[in-house]
């Protein structure tokens, strides 16, 4: 009886030993040599896996930055929008490098086609996603460029930085939560959302319209459309405004936030955000009383 037990133990131990030796050599042969820095960098990243940097996840970003650091001795072009400059300097210090601080960005909705400003012309009862509605037809309002009110951007946001305003139909961006990962920009089939710089004290001026139709047509469908009249272009002293295809665009790098364009815009298509209230209110753009005040719900 004892013999059997001893034989079993010895043979099992022998098999175990042989397997261990084989496994040891196999592991040596197929060893994956990984830079320990990758783990360190990954540790430093926010682990949001949002894809805002252009890589599928934080691990891939860490791999790419270590690879680039080893090869080019810099990590230019790699930027984690979620972590911002703070995290990037951390990453750089792990890699023994220095990075230039980048200006933080924030998502901006370039459409004011609320249910009041751009009235409903047709009823839609298909699948409630923007991607589908855009592919099928122009949308419930008559503006073929404007917001479809169906919220694909909100669906795409991983940071609770957006919600749909039931009353206006438009999505609202909560600036404090927005990390400028660009998921909403990607999700919007009409390219309405743009990443712009946060600006001094979060002050921003932008044209809240992407309609390229002729002024009359655009205005007919939406009260606050940019009609391409060029008044803002004339009044801007810093050449920050360009007009192309009946649509004005403000270059945020050139804009000095003087607010002259906001005053002259006849349709209130240019929005100012986070400015202190004006002392003397301009008189001319008060005429059309129906215009819903360009009330912007972006929270600060």
């Amino acid at each position: 009886m004892n013999d059997v037990v001893i034989f079993a133990v010895i043979s099992l131990a022998g098999i175990g030993l042989a397997a261990a030796i084989i496994l040891y050599f196999v592991a040596q042969k197929f060893k994956v040599i990984e830079d320990p820095k990758i783990d360190e960098v990954e540790e430093a990243l926010p682990a949001a896996n949002c894809g805002g940097c252009g890589y599928p996840g934080c691990r891939n970003f860490a791999e790419a930055s270590v690879k680039k650091a080893n090869k080019d001795k810099n990590i230019e072009g790699l930027y984690c929008p979620v972590g911002g400059n703070e995290i990037m300097s951390k990453v750089a210090s792990i890699l023994g490098l220095e990075v230039e601080a980048q200006e933080p960005m924030v998502a901006v909705l370039r459409c004011s086609g609320t249910k009041k400003n751009a009235p409903k012309k047709v009823e839609y009862n298909g699948p409630m996603t923007c991607a589908f509605a855009h592919n099928l037809y122009q949308g419930e309002s008559a503006c073929p460029y404007g917001c479809l009110w169906l919220g694909d951007c909100v669906e795409a946001c991983n940071f609770d930085a957006m919600y749909m305003d039931e009353e206006t139909g438009l999505p609202v961006i909560i600036e404090d939560n927005c990390v400028a990962c660009g998921a909403c920009v990607e999700a919007c089939p009409r390219d309405i959302i743009e990443l712009r710089n946060v600006g001094k004290k979060s002050k921003r001026i932008f044209v809240s319209c992407v309609n390229e139709e002729k002024g009359g047509v655009a205005r007919k469908n939406c009260k606050v459309a940019c009609i391409g009249c060029g008044k803002c272009f004339q009044v801007c002293k810093f050449d920050a405004i360009t007009i192309e295809n009946n649509l004005a665009y403000i270059d945020y790098e050139k804009c000095k936030l003087c607010r002259k364009c906001v005053e002259v815009c006849p349709t209130n298509a240019i929005h100012e955000l986070n400015f202190p209230p004006r002392k003397v209110k301009p008189v001319e753009n008060k005429k059309p009383d129906e215009i819903e005040k360009t009330e912007i719900k972006q929270q600060v």
Binding site: P127, L136, Q138
Partner: protein, 443 residues
């Protein structure tokens, strides 16, 4: 009786307007002729603002191989070349013409006499079909001359004339077969000559016994043309389904019918080819059905291209109360119109007016795994799978599951007891996969 094997549904036929003879719709005051009316490259306008045009005059030229010429449908003055809301509400460039009189180009033969002798040679026929802007009138508006040019290494064996008209409500092709049978048969002979084939099959579903009888009787005089009654089953009018039904041949995935030696043309196209080759008449008018259960006077109108759809509705007795949806095309494949001011184009086969009850979608519920959609898919696809893949943005996987083979017939959505928007997602998926394939081609 012949039919295709795989899948298919049988929706209520509702051919309300089948006994209404084709009427000529009065010429409107203004037409808006979109320059891109066919599949393929859009045409380029060759007239300018203020030009005087005649009926049948070339106004936009198709320069690419898959493109077609556009001719004026009225005589008058070009008002402007501007964007017009198409049926989906997106802007498309169009030529606006203010109508003055009805002066036709001199070389168009306007008499009713039937010209049976085909004097034009094979190349002349193809050239004329191209020059006079003939496109497939079944709905997709594919330029007909492309179909007639058989690629090297392939051989056409049979011409199939599509008189199925499987879409419920529509009766335009039915009326053409009854009223223009001789012209249609000569047109078929012309197409057969252009392809160099001896056999011409006309497939008609047996819910149109009068058309089957009429054409069978007349076709005895035309050598090689045979009329086949088909069992009523949607979507028999699909090219691939019709070939399967008539010849028992299956077109391989992603290939054209010429792969199995067949060329399919619609009856309306055959008539247009007759008029083009024998009478020099470009394609500038077509038969359009306007119908709906509440429409006062459902009719089949001969309409000039570019006429606003609202004029048609007016002529049929006006928009009935409670109309909540206007559909361009048939109820299965047509799309809701955003505006009734959109113009009739070469591919418009019908206009349908639905009331609230008929047009509302049923509420979407969870899939009950009944596999009904798979059973009815005439292409042998799994609609529930590919629509889910699209929803999850797994486009590569959708492509592997042959999403591009979908003919968008809508049988799956029609049959789904849970009211899932299957076709909607598949259409979106096809669009996205198409983009991916095109980008791949660029690299």
């Amino acid at each position: 009786m012949k039919t295709f094997e795989l899948g298919g549904v049988h929706p209520a036929e509702n051919k309300i307007s089948e006994n209404k003879a084709i009427e000529v719709l009065p010429i409107p005051k203004q037409v808006q002729i979109p320059v891109a009316q066919n599949l393929g490259a859009p045409s380029v306008p060759i007239v300018n603002k203020g030009d005087e045009v005649k009926v049948g005059q070339l106004i936009a030229k198709g320069e690419a191989f898959i493109s077609s010429n556009v001719h004026s449908s009225v005589s008058g003055k070009v008002l402007k070349i501007d964007n017009v809301n198409d049926q989906s509400g997106y802007k498309k460039p169009a030529i606006f013409i203010n109508v003055a009189g009805d002066e036709w180009e001199e070389n168009i033969d306007r008499s009713d006499t039937l010209i049976k002798d085909i004097t034009a040679s094979k190349d002349e026929i193809i050239k004329k079909v191209h020059k006079l802007g003939i496109v497939g009138l079944g709905g997709a508006a594919f330029p007909s001359h492309v179909k007639l040019m058989v690629p090297k290494g392939k051989k056409a064996e049979a011409l199939i004339i599509n008189g199925v008209e499987c879409e419920p409500y529509l009766t335009a092709d039915h009326r053409v077969m009854l009223e223009k049978a001789d012209e249609l048969l000569v047109g078929t002979k012309i197409l057969m000559k252009a392809l160099g084939v001896e056999k011409g099959f006309i497939g008609i579903e047996n819910n149109k016994p009068d058309a089957i009888e009429h054409l069978s009787k007349l076709s005895k005089e035309y050598k090689g043309i045979e009329v086949y009654p088909l069992k009523v089953k949607y979507p028999q009018g699909g090219e691939k389904q019709l070939i399967k039904a008539l010849t028992n041949r299956e077109v391989p995935s992603g290939k054209l019918p010429i792969e199995v030696g067949c060329v399919v043309q619609n009856v309306g196209t055959a008539l247009a080819v007759y008029e083009a080759v024998q009478k020099n008449k470009p394609l500038f008018e077509r038969v359009v059905t306007i119908t709906g259960k509440a429409v006062k006077n459902p009719s089949n109108f001969l309409v000039r291209i570019g006429t606003p759809i609202s004029e048609l509705i007016e002529a049929s007795g006006g928009t009935p109360d409670k109309t909540s949806k206007i559909v361009g095309g048939g109820p299965m494949m047509g799309k809701a119109l955003v505006t009734p001011d959109a113009p009739i184009v070469k591919g418009s086969s019908g206009v349908l007016l639905f009331d609230e009850k008929e047009s509302k979608r049923v509420e979407e519920k969870a899939c009950i795994r009944c596999a009904g959609c798979i059973k009815v898919c005439p292409m042998g696809l799994e609609p529930v799978l590919i629509s889910q893949l699209t929803k999850l943005e797994m486009y590569e996987e959708a492509e592997k599951n042959n999403i591009m083979d979908c003919i968008e017939c809508g049988s799956c959505q029609y049959t789904c007891p849970s009211g899932k928007p299957l076709l909607d997602y598949i259409r979106l998926g096809k669009f996205k996969v198409g983009q991916i394939i095109r980008n791949r081609g660029k690299k």
